[in-house]
Subunit: 374 residues, 2 copies
Amino acid sequence: MMEDGICFEDVLAELEELKRRDLGYTRILSSMCTHPHPIAKIAHNLFLEANLGDPGLFPGTKAIEEEVISMIAALLGDRDATGYITTGGTESNIQAIRAFRNASGKDGENIVVPASAHFSFDKIGDLLRVEVRKAPLDGEFRVDPAAVEDLIDDRTIGLVGIAGTTEYGQIDPIEDLAKIALENDLFLHVDAAFGGFVIPFLDSHPPFDLSVDGVSSITIDPHKMGMSTIPAGGILFKDKRLLELLSTPTPYLTSKAQFSLTGTRSGAAAAATYAVLRYLGFKGFKRVVDRCIRMTKMLKDGASSFGVVPPVEPVMNVLTLEVKDLRQVIRELERSGWRVSVTREGFMRLVIMPHLTEPILQEFLDDLKDATGN
Amino acid sequence: MMEDGICFEDVLAELEELKRRDLGYTRILSSMCTHPHPIAKIAHNLFLEANLGDPGLFPGTKAIEEEVISMIAALLGDRDATGYITTGGTESNIQAIRAFRNASGKDGENIVVPASAHFSFDKIGDLLRVEVRKAPLDGEFRVDPAAVEDLIDDRTIGLVGIAGTTEYGQIDPIEDLAKIALENDLFLHVDAAFGGFVIPFLDSHPPFDLSVDGVSSITIDPHKMGMSTIPAGGILFKDKRLLELLSTPTPYLTSKAQFSLTGTRSGAAAAATYAVLRYLGFKGFKRVVDRCIRMTKMLKDGASSFGVVPPVEPVMNVLTLEVKDLRQVIRELERSGWRVSVTREGFMRLVIMPHLTEPILQEFLDDLKDATGN
C-alpha cells in the first residue's frame, strides 16, 4: 500500500487492465466453474453486504439460506435433511468427515475413499488427522466395492462415494457402498459437488443421494453446475445430530452457536443460489443439463470420427479422450486459446459447461483434429 | 425447488421482499462488518466470475492477490512476508495453527491463547485436534504474560496474541508474548482480524505485528475494517516454510499445489480488497480510522455525561459500557432499531464502524440515556 491513494479512475483502469489478463470462460474446457446465471449476478449484488455469520442482523438472508437448503434437500432425496451453505465442495467434505470423526468416539480413525476422490480429501486427512485410505477403481473408473470392504478395519469411521468424479464424471456404486456402510455400522458421505446439479436431471441414473438407505451426508456445489456465484457450496446431513456435532458457541453474536467452518459468510452467494433455483426450477435445470449432455455427445462423436476416442463412456458432461502425444497436443491447443486438462491416468479431460456452445465446440474439434494430425 | 421455475420479475420481487427483512447497517453497533467501500463493490462486480482456486485461468486476478498480499505485508511490518487471501479470520487462524502443528512434530499438542480469543479458536481446537489452553486476562482485558508462561509445557507448540480483541478492542502485550515464544522455542500467531486495519493508523500504538521478532504469523480481515466485500480475509507468515506446510497437490488444475483451505476461491473479494487499498492508500485509511476513533470518543464522553462509563479505556473503535439492567436496556434499544452486543463479562459492547455517523450516534446516546433512566 502506498502512502497516498490514487484516483478512482486510475484504480478502475488498473482493474480493467488486470482483468484483460484473465482468460474468460469462452474457450475453457478444463473448469467445473462457469459464468454465473444472469439472475445470480443480480441477486448477488442485491445482497452483497449480507453476512450469514450474524443471522440476527440478516433474517431475510437467513430465510434465503433455509429455503435453499430445503430446495436442495428435496432435489437430493430427503426433504427433511439439514445443512447449510458452505464456501464450496472442500468445506462441505471437511464438515462431513469432521462430523463422522466427532461422532465415532474412535482413536486413530481412518476413512476409505475412492482413488478417484477429489484432492480435497488429502487436505482433509491432514487437517482432521484422519487417515485417508484409497480404494482402487474398476475398469470404468468407479470405485470397486470389494476393494473398499477390504480396507475397512476397526478404526474405520466412514466411507466416501463420488457421484460425478472430477476426472471422469463417473458415479460410484452408491447403493453397494451404502450396503457395506450399513453392514459395518459406518457413515457414508457422497461427494456430489459436481454431480448434484447434473445427475437428478439425467434421463436415467442410478440411486446416488440421500434417498439411499445408508447415505449419511452429501456435498453439492451451487457454484459449479448450479450456476451460482462463488462462494456457494452445500452440505446436507440426513441426521441433524451430525450437524450439531459441528457446533461452536458464539458469544457476542446474534446467534447462540454456529455450525459453519467460517465465521463471516457470504449472503450474496446464498441469494444468487436461491435466485437460480427459483428461476429455473427442475425443468429449467433439466434443459441446461440436456444441452450440456448433447454437446458432450457432439464432442465425443466428432472426436471419434477422426479416431480420437474416450477410454470410458461419459455418463455426464465430463468427457475424457485418449490422445497420443498429449502434452504436445495440449501445447498446440493452448496456442489457439483452448484450455483442457489431464487426468492422472494421462487422458485429455474436457468439462462441457453451460458457457460452451456448439459452434465453439466445432472450432475446438477442428483444432483438435489438426493438433492430433488427423 | 419446484418443478417449474418462476419468472424473472417474480424472483426479483421475492428477493426484494426478503431483503427488506434484513436490518441494514444504519443502527448496528454490534458488528465488525460494515458497508463495503463503493469502489470495492465496483471491483467485486468486475471480477465476479474469477476463481483464485484455478489461477492459470485467472492470471490477472492472481496478480491482484499477490499485490494485495504485498500491500498488507508492508502494512504489517514485513515486506517479505508470504500468504494468501482467505475467506476470513477463522480460516486465517485455522491455517496458522495448522502450520504450527504440522511443523512441530509433537504429539498431543496444545496452544495457549488469551481467554479473550475469538470463539474460532474453540472451533480450531476441535478441527485440528489441538488442546486450546486459555490464559487469564489482566485488569484491562489483555492477556497476562505470566499466566501464559505458566500454561506452557513440553507439548505446547505455539502462542496466540490478539491485536484488537473482539469484545474490548484491546491489544495484548505482543512484545512480551514474543519474548516468551522465543525463549521457549514456540511459534506466535497474532490475531489482528479486526485490529490489522486499525492499529497501524492510530496516532500511537505498541508494536504488534511481524516487525516484532518472534511473531510467526498474523491474521488481518479486509472484510472488517478493510471495507472490502465478503469473503476477504488475510493470513501472512514470516517464514515461507510455514505456508508450504499447508500445501496440497492439485492434479487436473492449472496450478501444481494449493495452500488455501478452500478450493474454489472468490477472486471478486480479492479485487475489492485491492481496489480499496489502492484508492485509499495509508493516508485514506488513517482518515477512516481517525473518524471512527473520534466517534468512539464522542460516544464515550456522551455516555459518561449521564453516568454510563466504560469498564476500560477504549484503545480503538470498540467501546464497552457498564450498564445496569443491561438486558432490559438492550430490549428497549432494540425497540428503536438499535443493535448492540454484550461481552462475556456482562458489559454493553459497541463497535463504531465507518457506517455510523455523528448524528446517528447522537440519537443513540439520547435513546441510551432514556433507556438507562438518566
